[in-house]
Symmetry: C2
Subunit: 270 residues, 2 copies
């Protein structure tokens, strides 16, 4: 999916909501556990209930691979349920030496290899340029690079001063030379809304993937105030607050309510 | 496996060789491609041929997940072929916010969840302490943290000056407070043998996992000279030079030759 197509979807749905499919098999409502694939059955209902309000879906790969081979089958089925006009993100935080990153790229971008085809994958920057470039060799696919994450540990290294800037700023500046705003996005945690304005001075045009709204405590209003640009430029993720809005048979209805509330707030900011 | 048990195996085999099971289905000898699981069949012969000379095996997870669900089945079978006295490393380079890293830990350490149980997993440090700690909650399991990798991109961020040291040194120093030498190891690329002596001044007691010998150009003699400590403290990995020593029916014999050559050189340094 191109940036233009993504922006078109954002305008038509009046939303920049990304639904994080962090589906924990231990938290699926009891009535679904007898399904042949409870995770896929849960995701299907979540996707159908939220597709009107969401422009992107982001399965966190940990939740699937923790289930072994059947988890990867659940992931394949889940991707099939996501409408084609939605942007898909493999939240995998991969990164390795070049030939190995090339295999991770095939995992998430080459259905002939793995049975999966996402629009994008999240990548960790620690190993540098040649660990990221193999993901950029797939046309129309995106790298979403970790910059400033939403967890407490982001202060351990990402916030350290490197020359006259912080490490996460250096990651953003250096990676500008690897690809443009049409191929790369950045992860910036919503718990750091005060730093979004500063990040926007470095990368005014890029899309930012913002986790941390909802369960992690970030504010959608603040993120939108400091993060929006003329082409939207934001994908704001909510996971647990939508997936587990109810633990009963009404879980999909309640998920739709949560997604609609976020979408309506987003519509007011667009 | 404890550090003491690992050292015992090292002494008994006179080896600190780790065989990297970076098994690329496109490079498996033709006669194995009709097997029901060519990757597992290849790995089984490699393991049987090298087990006398190796103390550790390290499947790089990218090579398996690129094959989708059947790749994870090949990985499960491969683990079953590795002798119990060998140390197993899931080279996955994972890392995410706490609850998600907990799921990655279950992937590689909890067979009831994923069908896999490794002794250790490689972890990327960028997201900091709370992205690493969930892996340390499993008794007798190890975190192998990326410090200084063997690829060109390691100079992009790992070598940057942070206060009065480089980022990779800061990663090593900071992570000392997370766990001791009985639970953590570090990845230090063999292409940086000149920096091993310096790293040994920071962490004299830790095991270092050293990739990059062989296909990537590192020298076993230099690594051993600067990296060995009184309890060995090294696991030196070779992947492609062993796996693809021959592309024909004699591949396992030739792999054994390569492994034996490395083991004999190691025996001379121990």
């Amino acid at each position: 999916m191109t940036a233009k197509e993504l922006y078109h979807t954002i305008l038509s749905k009046k939303s920049y909501l990304c639904v994080g499919l962090d589906t924990d098999i231990r938290r699926i409502p009891a009535h679904l556990r007898a399904e042949p694939d409870p995770v896929a059955a849960f995701n299907r209902q979540i996707i159908e209930a939220t597709a009107e309000y969401a422009v992107a879906y982001k399965p966190n790969i940990a939740f699937y691979e923790a289930q072994g081979p059947r988890g990867w089958e659940s992931l394949q089925r889940t991707l099939e349920y996501i409408p084609k006009n939605c942007f898909t993100i493999a939240d995998a935080k991969r990164g390795d030496i070049g030939n190995t990153s090339g295999l991770y790229a095939r995992t998430f971008f080459d259905p002939a290899s793995s049975g999966l085809e996402f629009d994008s994958v999240t990548v960790a920057p620690y190993m540098g340029r040649d660990s990221v470039e193999p993901f950029l060799e797939f046309a129309d696919k995106w790298v979403i690079l970790l910059a400033l994450t939403s967890n407490a540990g982001s202060s351990d290294f990402q916030q350290l001063p490197v020359s006259d800037e912080k490490l996460y700023e250096k990651v953003i500046r250096t990676s500008q030379t690897w690809a443009g705003a049409d191929r790369m996005m950045y992860v910036v945690g919503a718990t750091r809304a005060d730093e979004l304005a500063h990040i926007r001075t470095i990368i005014p045009d890029h899309f930012l993937l913002v986790p941390g709204v909802g369960a992690q405590g970030g504010s959608l209003a603040e993120v939108s105030r400091y993060g929006l640009n003329s082409q939207c430029g934001l994908l704001v993720n909510a996971s647990r607050s939508i997936l587990y809005a109810s633990g009963n048979t009404d879980f999909a209805l309640r998920a739709a309510d949560e997604a609609r509330t976020l979408q309506q707030e987003m519509a007011s900011f667009l």
